[in-house]
Symmetry: C2
Subunit: 263 residues, 2 copies
Amino acid sequence: MHTDPAAHPPIDAGFSLDAFHRGRFHLVQPVGGHRSGLDAMLLAAALPTDFSGHAADLGAGAGAAGLAVLSRCPQARITLVERDPAMLDCARRTLSLSHNRPLAERATLIDADVALTGPARSAAGLTDAGFDFALMNPPFNDGADRATPDPLRRSAHVMEDGLFEAWIRTAAAIVRPGGGLALIARPESLGGVLAALGRRFGGARIVLVHPSADQKAIRFVLRASKGSRARLAFVPALVLNDAAGPLPRTQALSNGAAALFDD
Amino acid sequence: MHTDPAAHPPIDAGFSLDAFHRGRFHLVQPVGGHRSGLDAMLLAAALPTDFSGHAADLGAGAGAAGLAVLSRCPQARITLVERDPAMLDCARRTLSLSHNRPLAERATLIDADVALTGPARSAAGLTDAGFDFALMNPPFNDGADRATPDPLRRSAHVMEDGLFEAWIRTAAAIVRPGGGLALIARPESLGGVLAALGRRFGGARIVLVHPSADQKAIRFVLRASKGSRARLAFVPALVLNDAAGPLPRTQALSNGAAALFDD
């Protein structure tokens, strides 16, 4: 039935095929490895709905956030940047799915370490001031993740000293003046993120993500502008669930039907 | 009628007498200068209700937060630290009000700059590891405040480079290991505050304060422990008002009838 095997790579026992944005795109993901979900959808929802430029998804994994940007923003282009061979394989399979072809035509995949600097970074395709926006869901870990025996999952969650500094340094280099940055991270990383933003990015808007109204935040999503001197602001928090399950706004954000920030 | 004039200083045209905690204590405040209100009450509400140690109110002004701690915590003692002569005068008048005497018996006033270091700081009465807790509502400014012509008000709101570093350095010096820090500040100061906390204080809990559910935060209140390695956490935000006015929790916090953090 498959006339073009290259465009229909087998989804064998090591992979799963997962639908996002109510089936508007699919991801090939490793079974048992780091799996994308709501984090990637919230990150993609941080871009302006009318974004029509060229964005870089730094540490793209299987491409969840990047494809979600393409799904939300019909004029956007994306460059997915990933260094992990297993995730690169997933991203390649994802982009070659016939179902994803309308989005994949606006996507490019780069095999590169986000922490590259100078000429090596440019040579990898991360051109200085070559992008309008950078988004990132940097690898992080916590006690629960460290306990998991799965090497791939552990690898995706290893937090390195200076990771935010290195990744945000790259974002500041590749984004044009006035361009944007969006990232999602754990609350305990906020100090390191704000230190790395420094004077590179300003006008940060932050939304805290709480599982329910009476629980502490588990994530924050931040959007900032390169070179802005505007003040940091915390917009009203996002509460994901009530006793009945995901709230309508959570579902809309997860499905690409809402923006996280007013523009 | 006044048998002890020193204990009943005149509240002349330059001052007002303001009730707090439903009249449990009063403050002598300068008319037209920096005036304490909800910020000081929220700061005092950040201490554990069962706090029974010796706290230092750094930059105490007329004593609002410090007296609110004494009002909430019947076993607590407080040292008010202030360098501004006009505010020191108000604090002295406040402590000498007969109405405040039950609280004032647990209060000490120190004329000192919070930014003092080394032997000068100790000589002023800010003894290394001499306190169980430090609280601070550091002077800050914003565009609106800069526009005010009142010199006293302007003085109270001048933000100096490194202020948080200097004040938190003092807090770390004077608080015993395991002791606490509470502060209230504007959201745009969070990066500087987290940098100053560094490894001095950990286990920070932060509550963002929003005027209403759909407005951005105007303050944050933070509590941390000296030497803790626990992670920063954002507890659910405090929303002050709905369309009908202050919410019950706002009133309870303002009146000393509630704690800001679970303990």
